[in-house]
Symmetry: C2
Subunit: 685 residues, 2 copies
């Protein structure tokens, strides 16, 4: 073990080399005779060996996932529920980490070269001149903190530690896209104001509260002498940013299964999805403003403003990019590709992935872009896909999400033992737990109070307690903290974050069920009944209504096969333009609707009256209510995950359309017809 | 451009370092002051820049694929057929390659270090000590042949050039697995003897013929002075091995669409799938025996035998591994996971991928393992999956195959311009084309003659000409040749191989249709009619019959939910064992069959008589004929790609079963019943 580098006598560099700081030329220690043929063979052998070990390492993860799947099945089969599958994946990861750490001893390969140099920075690419041939080496990351030039590198463990970029480029996009694609937009947009408040303001509050508390702790630790390295205020803020991101994965799974109150679900899920994005942008803007000339790592108002500007720019840029790609995909699948499910699915997949890459290449945040791309795809593109492609895309992203999620959680477990530069500082850990708890409280309770001032259906206190409790930290927190583990501060953050994630996933995740029953929050709620029962005034706010009308009358017809044709919605003077923009397929589609008016029927109060009998507070004239109903009743407005219901309702809609009158609903016996409708709703939801 | 390394004064190494040849320690040129904070920032900046460029590079490929998909759609939409989609992908790749090469000029980044050292070999991993912190660098490959220490590295082009390992580990497995999974096993196994002959003997013959011809050419070139580097006999043999692999991708697509004669299709496809595997093993065993002590690169009988031993060992090991994983997956999905399509699909995917990794980690050939894994999965596991998972797995692998295939072909196009060490030697290229042509001829014609001696239905001469013509070189040839492009010989091989692939895909691939009509080979053949018409004696050879019976009576019941329960097939003395091995589900399944005998009905001669009226040579007593019919009629024997037919037939089978007698077929009017059966067959095929 332990290859010992021996710094030899330094050589005085020439002047030209001093000018080019990064252009370094090294000299060989021990020049050898040429035997080219043997070189090739040795290189090939080594490459083969390395390839074999890479395969073995990847195999470990595949086996871990397989094991997790089998255990998940067992749990589902036996109806165990005390541990969520992500927690399970983490436990398996832990076990394998222990085995790799203490059980396996791979002989140290002799193929590692150790180069010593005191360059300012490690370059991303190295070109090594080996006997006149140039080999390219890419930076894989820092290996371990060398103490007195002693590299303690267990090769196996080092290789098992992934490039953090893999998380961002490969594993996170499918998870976030799936979250956007499967979002229940109806409930989400009904609570959009509160969700945005929690996600934006809440996360910023939480970030600063945690940052300040941690700064207090760190300062105290410095005084006591517990701190072995630098820990600046910006580091504290950075820590606050990364641990403020709550995880949608576990929340989604638990609450979806339990069928908890739809508003609570929407709030928690919406917050956790969006605050991932907020945390990414926050942390990267903290890093970005850090190097602006000063090494003081202190807090400045100007820098703060700049940071805020970066934040807004990056967020809105990513948002625009994601929506743009979604719209482009909708347009492509609107005008072509129909009847070729394989091509459609492939295009859908590629476009969604390219959103992420494009955003990253432009310097925006891929995760934010991919989230809004997912939402746009579900809102527009989904309606243009053939039924087979709808199934295929759903299933594909479900699978990718499942695999990525379990991979991340088992990797988290593994890292606790395989990561080599852990810094567990008990005081820092205690401080972090306190700070995370207080930060979450400072997010939820004050904001809920403020929001309740404006909300018609209040966020009750038991809801607030559950939101406080269910703020699990998961994949995003982990990914953000593993991204850079170069300094002492970052290593301590990483180790602490890992513990926070473990604790919240196991304890808070596992305790959600008891918590819900303790808070007497009903589970097993039928979301559509719930939906029908609650008719909230605050939804019909004018910006939302305007957006809905614009979307329904212009965007949907332009981008999807649903909605009225543009010729009908645009003013008469725009006739030629409308005819030009409406594709032949749209006219075909129009033909299928049988009646130009059929779409408006559902915009009419008549439909809302279908539900009016069972709603508590009837709002027959409110156009928004109608609109919302419309979005829940038309097949064209359905998201990927509730088209069963939508299909059924679309049939009803068609019946309406076929009769060709504006008020054809069976109003003679409203209770019965509503009853039968409800029966269908319940059956399908 | 061009970072110039300047070798400085060498430093005398200490003794201990001389002992450890690979453990080198370098000294810094130009020691710098410590400014740790700035380091981090610079490192982060550079990592960010590198990440951004990586995203942009990947984006190029995604855009290429998107463009290809849209054009494929256009072609399908307009019913163009003169160019196959893989050819199209290649053209787009070429265009982008030209643009990147001549259009884009990325400023040379200053972040490249150039290290000079005359080490014997380039290690797989470098540890660089940067101001006391260790960074790991991994070998990405040789950059370009440096002429007089001048590194001409256009960074963009270099980055766009993928790690060849990506082909082997990411892109090839799904293609080969899909080939195995979608294999029409009925036709494949009917011609298994001929396919094995072409794939094994044919490829070896072709390899040696090409190797010898190339050796002649190379020797001549050496005399004439046209050769600028070393080119040994083993290099010639290696070249023979890599260009002997014919490509299943294009063949599959063209012939599948045209519905050509099933036997011709089976022969061509079977050969091309298996000879990929043969070429891999051949080429790696040629490389493996090369370094065995001697640097003479000459041909030795002993080495040849050793090579042959390696070949057999690797091939059979990979085969066994692939089958073992397939069987394991079948067992898992037999005993659990049913009712959870997501888990099933995920497990199926992971197990299939782990086959590949396991084989590579063990030193076997992943591609061979994954091919047989695919066949096994289709034969056993597929029957255990829930209908939803059957669809999901089919669609998933179809998509992966499609993406990987188009990616490879567009990458091929790109490489023609982006690869920086091309060696185009006109004489070598002419020689290679001649050699490839003759090698193919030496494979097909003599073997066909020999096979025709034993075959009942001869391989006609027009079939032979088509097989000769349709021996396209594709993904595997490319992947094998790009794997190592370090030496002059390998670079020349790579460039030549690229041209061969382009030529065969565009000219031979595009010319297949005219060729078929010129050879007066009928297209649009109904495979099942064909199947029924032809009843070949050679199929009922005893090894095949024995295997079938064993498979049907013991393996299928043990591994799938189909076939008779073991309690019925095992002798009475094994009753307890049989009962132990048969899971509760199997008994349930047994219940569904309504009648223990129902399965045997179809083993009886009565079923074969269903088809007997329309077959040319009736063979009512041959148990194999019956068996084959059984495999085409029972839903349980159907492969992933023809379950539509199988489902229909299963219903018929059920009708038989329900009546509960052994001879219930409507024999009173056989012509009519066969007619109606045929109607269904035609409808579904």
């Amino acid at each position: 073990m332990g290859t010992t580098p021996r710094p030899l006598v330094g050589v005085k560099p020439s002047n030209s080399l001093l000018l080019l700081a990064f252009l370094l030329t090294f000299v060989l220690v021990g020049s050898r005779g040429e035997s080219n043929a043997m070189d090739n063979v040795a290189t090939e052998r080594m490459a083969e060996e390395s390839h074999r070990q890479d395969s073995a390492n990847l195999l470990i993860f595949i086996m871990l996932l397989t094991l997790t799947i089998l255990t998940i099945w067992l749990f589902k089969h036996r109806r165990f529920r005390f541990l969520h599958e992500t927690g399970l994946a983490m436990i398996y990861g832990l076990l394998v980490g222990v085995i790799l750490r203490f059980g396996v001893h791979v002989p140290q390969s002799m193929s590692d070269l150790v180069l010593s140099c005191a360059v300012n920075a490690s370059p991303a690419t190295l070109l090594v001149n080996v006997s006149g041939r140039f080999y390219e080496y890419t930076l894989k990351g820092e290996v371990s903190r060398s103490k007195g030039h002693q590299v303690q590198d267990d090769e196996m463990l080092r290789k098992v530690t992934f490039d953090p970029e893999v998380f961002f480029n490969i594993l996170l996009p499918p998870i976030i896209f799936h979250a956007g694609y499967s979002l229940k937009r109806r409930h989400f947009f009904r609570n959009i104001g509160s969700i945005l408040a929690y996600a934006f303001m809440g996360t910023v509050i939480s970030c600063f509260v945690i940052g300040l508390i941690m700064y207090g702790f760190v300062s105290f630790m410095k005084v006591v002498g517990q701190l072995a390295g630098d820990f600046y205020f910006t580091d504290c803020l950075f820590f606050g940013a990364i641990v403020s991101a709550t995880d949608p994965v576990t929340v989604l799974a638990i609450f979806n299964e339990l069928k908890v109150d739809v508003d609570l679900y929407a709030l928690l899920f919406g917050e956790s999805v969006l605050n991932d994005a907020v945390a990414i942008v926050l942390s990267s803007s903290i890093v970005a403003y850090q190097p602006a000339g000063d090494n003081s790592h202190s807090f400045e108002a100007m820098a703060m403003l700049k940071s805020f500007g970066i934040f807004l720019g990056v967020f809105s840029g990513s948002f625009a990019l994601g929506v743009a790609t979604g719209v482009m995909t909708a347009l492509i699948s609107f005008h072509m590709l129909r009847d070729f499910p394989l091509l459609e699915t492939a295009l859908f997949f590629l476009m969604s992935w390219s959103t992420f890459l494009l955003a990253e290449a432009c310097g925006f945040t891929g995760v934010v872009a991919v989230l809004f791309c997912g939402i746009t795809q579900a809102h527009y593109t989904y309606n243009n896909l053939s039924p087979e492609s709808q199934d295929r895309t759903k299933q594909l992203f479900e699978l990718l999400n499942f695999l990525a999620e379990n991979f991340i959680f088992s990797y988290m477990g593994l890292t606790l033992f395989s990561f080599q530069s852990h810094v567990f500082n008990p005081m820092f850990i205690i401080g972090a737990f306190v700070a995370v708890f207080l930060g979450r409280a400072a997010n939820i309770y004050p904001l809920s109070f403020l929001l309740n001032l404006g909300r018609k259906n209040k966020i009750r206190s038991n809801f607030q307690h559950v939101m406080m409790f269910a703020g699990l930290r998961g994949a995003m927190t982990f990914a953000l903290s593993i991204r850079d583990t170069a300094t002492y501060a970052r290593q301590m953050m990483f180790s602490t974050t890992l513990l926070i994630v473990f604790f919240t996933v196991w304890i808070c995740g596992g305790g959600t069920m008891p918590m819900l029953s303790f808070m007497s929050i009903p589970v097993g709620v039928d979301s559509d009944q719930e939906n029908a029962r609650r008719n909230t005034k605050h939804e019909s706010a004018w910006p939302f209504r305007m957006w809905y009308n614009f979307d329904h009358n212009y965007l949907k017809p332009l981008l999807t096969h649903s909605g009225p044709p543009l010729t009908a919605t645009l003013p008469a003077c725009c006739g030629p333009l409308a005819r030009c923009l409406t594709s032949p397929q749209a006219y075909e589609n129009e033909g299928q609707l049988h009646d130009d008016d059929s779409d408006f029927i559902l915009n009419d109060a008549s439909v809302s009256s279908m539900f009016a009998d069972v709603t508590v507070s009837t709002d027959a004239s409110g156009s928004h209510t109608v609109n919302r109903k419309r979005s829940s009743t038309a097949s064209t407005g359905g998201g990927p995950w509730d088209e069963g219901l939508d299909h059924e309702l679309a049939q009803a809609e068609n019946e309406v359309a076929i009769r060709g009158t504006r008020l054809v609903l069976p109003m003679d016996d409203p209770v019965e017809s509503v009853g039968s409708f409800h029966h269908r709703l319940q059956y399908h939801s």
